[in-house]
Amino acid sequence: MASLSENLINPYHAFAILVGSAFAAAILWPESAPAALGPLMRGPFLPHAVAFLIGFLSLEIGEAERGYGVYRAPRRAARLGGLVGFGLVLVLPFLLVHRVETGLPWPQFAAILGFLYAYGLAWALAGHGAVAVVHWDGLRFVLEYGGLLAVIILPAGAGLPISPIPAIGGLWAGTGAGWWGLALYAVLDAGALGAWLWTNGRSSGA
């Protein structure tokens, strides 16, 4: 069994290309730009772009993993975590250079990476679970991607850290909202993984 489903090659490459484009936009952004647009270069534009895109990649990962190979639940969960991590590693060089250019301290950078991983894993688990629950492809597509966009956009206006926009903005600035977002997704992941492994263990034990 290959380590990666061929259905994931293009999503990974597309993810890297889009993050690379966002990185190029941030690097090429002129210093003379109006102050209101300044954060594109020196602000959290790139982590925001990664958060936006990793949600889509993670849904693809979750779906592609369903039915790919025969793995027990713990191994499958580890693969989901590994594949989300692999996506982040692909764009890590961009994030590292951007960290230097924006002067982001290492602790905040690590917290943002942690958030991106936890957020990506949550959507990978959602994508993986959705295939089992919703069998009609059209409805699943609408539910998955509509849900992803709703989570990104709707709470952002109210500054709720369930949306990656205020959460990453908070971690970038070192304010409370960011830490709440990180904690929220960490707890969500732990809860979802725990419930999945527990129910799976019960069913296989029976």
Binding site: E6, A24, E31, V89, L90, V100, E101
Partner: protein
């Protein structure tokens, strides 16, 4: 109220530790009249009515600005040590903007001992200060009559006046005369019947904008980064497919390792741009021996709090407004310090009076020697009053501490003869 009610109130009053024993009061502005847009004296009187030494913190807070153009908090924190039964009066330079009335609190160990809200009585026009015995008040505008001993030794506190008139026989002390000279020399206002130094115009906003552009963070190596990004993405297109064909992941491992190595060593080769730029312009003149006119430009790339030594207030150019950022003045072991909140992309210009720079530096004769372009704002200020043959001494310091790049430009002008 019945006698029972009074008795309960008295018992409660006595039971409150410190209640009515420490008293605080004061006023904002000269004689309680604050001039809008100027730095006014904030006079605070604290009385310790207790039988023990008062070791406390004096705290002042005022919200300035408005919701639509940005609100900011002005705060002051100063340690307070007062003997039993003692009374002390302090005057602080306080920039006055429309906003809430300043609240003054004396607190010790988190317990509030006394509180007062100072009335905010604003006047738009700067008054004329007449010092000494006044035979007749001058025409044309409001007037404030002061005794010579009322005059401050801090030039900041003359800011609310348009003019200071010393009447015949009014003798001011040497420190007050120095403060007056600094106030006049650096464009604060006029003094009549006293020594009048040459007035040097303040640094122009346009020159400061140019200075900000000149001292910005280094640009990223764009060509290298964009070229590297394109190559990395092309290589990724070749290295990813073998992962789905049971191939060994050596290609992708090598590619990611190379990219990560470059990213990790990137700051070693290209350095890291500063996250905050501080540019200090200090202007001294032979006419003023104690004070210099200082301008500090704070250019933040990231948000946060910047702490600088000395008492600084935000400089507001005519026709513009304060940035609405929080500012706090605190006392440390080495005197007052100013803490300003920074908003990325929002340049903050502060001004204040520093210690005159009177010795050292590189000597130049006006009209013959060119100096570093970084001195442009200072030279432009001195330019209108300098004559050929005058001496100009300059000193430039550039240092980097973590993410903060600090540039200091000091210039002393000594007129010929």
């Amino acid at each position: 109220m019945t006698w029972v009610g009074w008795a309960v109130l008295c018992v409660v009053a006595v039971a409150q530790p410190g209640w009515a024993e420490v008293w605080v009061g004061g006023e904002l502005g000269w004689q309680g009249q604050a001039v809008l847009g100027a730095v006014n004296p904030l006079t605070i009187t604290v009385t310790n009515g207790t039988s023990s030494v008062l070791s406390a913190t004096l705290r002042v807070e005022q919200r300035v600005g408005s919701g639509w153009r940005g609100e900011g908090m002005q705060r002051l924190r100063a340690p307070l040590l007062l003997a039993p039964g003692g009374r002390a009066q302090f005057a602080f330079p306080w920039p006055v903007e429309a906003g809430s009335a300043p609240a003054v609190v004396v607190e010790a160990d988190g317990t509030e001992l006394a509180r007062a809200t100072l009335p905010l009585r604003l006047m738009a026009e700067k008054p004329i200060a007449t010092v000494g015995s006044v035979a007749a008040y001058p025409d044309g505008g409001p007037t404030i009559a002061l005794a010579p001993e009322d005059l401050p030794e801090d030039p900041f506190l003359f800011s609310p006046f348009s003019e200071v008139r010393l009447t015949r026989g009014a003798v001011v002390s040497a420190p007050v005369a120095e403060a007056l000279a600094a106030w006049v020399a650096f464009g604060g206002g006029l003094v009549r019947n006293g020594e009048t130094p040459t007035v040097i115009p303040s640094l122009s906003a346009m020159d400061l904008d140019d200075a900000v552009a000149r001292h910005g963070p280094r640009p990223p190596p764009r060509g290298l980064l964009i070229g590297g990004t394109v190559l990395y993405l092309i290589a990724l297109g070749l290295a990813l497919p073998p992962l789905s064909r049971r191939g060994r992941p050596w290609g992708i491992a090598a590619l990611i390792s190379a990219a990560l190595t470059f990213a990790l060593f990137y700051p070693v080769f290209f350095g890291s741009p500063q996250t905050t730029t501080l540019i200090l312009y200090s202007l001294s003149t032979r006419d003023v021996s104690r004070f210099s006119a200082d301008t500090l430009v704070v250019v933040p790339v990231r948000g946060g709090i910047q702490e600088v030594s000395g008492w600084w207030v935000e400089r507001v150019s005519p026709g513009s407004e304060r940035s609405g950022m929080d500012i706090e003045w605190v006392w440390g072991a080495e005197g007052p310090r100013t803490l300003v909140a920074m908003n990325p992309g929002k340049t903050l210009v502060l001004w204040g009076y520093g210690r005159a720079w009177s010795t050292g530096g590189t000597r130049h004769v006006v009209g013959s020697v060119a100096v570093d372009a970084g001195f442009a704002p200072l030279l432009a200020a001195v330019g209108p009053v300098a004559r050929e043959g005058d001496l100009v001494y300059t000193e430039r310091i550039a240092e980097r501490q973590g993410g903060v790049a600090r540039y200091e430009y000091r210039l002393r002008w000594e007129p010929d003869g």
